[in-house]
Amino acid sequence: MSGHTADEMMAVEAARRLSSDTVCFVGIGLPSLAANLARRTHAPGCVLVYESGTIGAKPAQLPLSIGDGELAETADAVVSVPEMFAYWLQGGRIGVGFLGAAQIDRHGNLNSTVIGPYETPKVRLPGGGGAPEIATSVQDVFVMLRQSARTFVDELDFTTSRGDRVRVVVTDLGVLEPRHGELTLTQLHPGATVEQAVAATGWELRVADDLRQSDAPTEEELRALRALETKGVAA
């Protein structure tokens, strides 16, 4: 098996959790990579919905923007943005929603708004976008986020979206899932250690009794992944 990057491991691990009857709301970057990978491998029926209004998009290559023309061209339907948020997301028709963030806490609450105080931020982040309502409208929220003590924090600077429906957090070190009301390390990627994961977490990270190792990406997964990653800037 050839080597793989941390991003590839993350995409593969998230993709494996999607099936052919999943309708997922996808943002740009790793989520888009994961969802498209699933569609190209074990879950050809997986439906990709982008907040730009494209329903059932089937891009051949990874879009740089959620509004890439290819998404509209390959979609089953293109709807207006108000319709997307009202009828499709709020309508409860989306199974899985992917989210990223600058900070996450042990309950899966996310911050993508500011670092520092809201009125006088140290860093003004792009903001929530679709996240606040994705987090409360889809059945299952998947978070994809590189793990570090700066990102996995004891207390958020700002709550952009709620964690109630976060079912899984895929990081570059492993996988966290809610257990007894708190995100708990349930999986380690090949080569990562519990110590690394604990060190990269700003709260006292719990480790599941049944901690298991992630399967490394297969040749087929990597091939499909790399075929997707050829457009514009890397995802």
Partner: protein
């Protein structure tokens, strides 16, 4: 009935200092040419409304046109930060920027409410977020079920600006591909400007096409390439490299100012 005028004339007639202006186009058909004309005409104290402030809003903010920004996601898509937006919020340069921040769902509901001449839009949103306390959102109670929902004040911009593929000579407009909130912003605004790739003799209906009748628009201006570096479905593609280059251009105040001087202020309007 929409008047077909030059972009310069349209902006001069429709936009004034202090106006609330929404230049929309959700990841597609972003009205860059119109935004540049706003910069060239030196408009000031604008309240800028847009779901996804993009490079064009970074430029307007960096050039000091804006007093306030109403938005839901302000980044350089696929690249990172909007440095001029950040500089304004973090350091008040070139001027302090008041921020009214929403979620996408809230912005979309506010535009739809505005288009429908309702004072507010209703959604299941904002609950449990810190945003709720920081923005204009209230709660309404369902008179039938007792459920509590979020209410956002309708967007009713003074001027709505969008870019589209085509207009005919009566000012009827057709746009297609990702249609975003284009229709809503035109209908929600007191005055509206549509820039188009071309003026055609007859609008031929295309699949997914949204048609805005000329009588619902104030001005149409022909601005070929007017969405660049964004794209116009069927006309040209998104200039992804530009978005990457913008990161470096916009990071530094002087580099930014020079770039704007050369590429916008000294440019000849469409």
């Amino acid at each position: 009935m929409a008047e077909i005028v030059s972009l310069t004339e349209a902006v001069r007639e429709l936009v004034s200092d202090g106006d609330t202006v929404a230049l929309e186009g959700f990841t597609h058909l972003i009205p860059h040419a119109a935004g540049h004309e706003v910069v060239r005409q030196g408009l000031r104290e604008l309240t800028l409304v847009r779901m996804t402030p993009d490079v064009i809003y970074d430029q307007l903010i960096g050039m000091g046109c804006a007093r306030k920004l109403v938005f839901s996601w302000g980044g350089n898509p696929g690249v990172g930060s909007l440095h001029r937006l950040r500089d304004a919020v973090e350091h008040g340069w070139p001027a302090p920027l008041e921020v009214e921040e929403h979620s996408h769902a809230g912005m979309a509901a506010a535009y739809a409410a505005g288009a429908a001449n309702l004072p507010f839009g209703v959604l299941r949103g904002y609950f449990g977020t810190d945003l709720a306390a920081r923005t204009r959102v209230a709660s309404v109670t369902c008179p039938f079920t007792g459920e509590e929902l979020a209410a956002v004040p309708a967007h009713r911009p003074d001027v709505g600006v969008v870019h589209a593929q085509q207009a005919d000579r009566d000012g009827n407009v057709q746009l297609w591909g990702i249609t975003g909130v284009q229709k809503e912003v035109v209908l929600a605004s007191a005055r509206s400007l549509v820039t188009v790739e071309e003026i055609v003799d007859e609008l031929v209906p295309v699949p997914g096409g949204v048609v805005l009748p000329g009588w619902a628009i104030d001005a149409v201006a022909c601005a070929p390439g007017g969405a660049r570096p964004s794209y116009a479905h069927g006309y040209y593609e998104r200039d992804n490299d530009f978005y990457v280059r913008w990161d470096a251009v916009s990071r530094d105040r002087d580099t930014f100012a020079r770039w704007m001087q050369e590429n916008v202020l000294e440019a000849v309007p469409a």
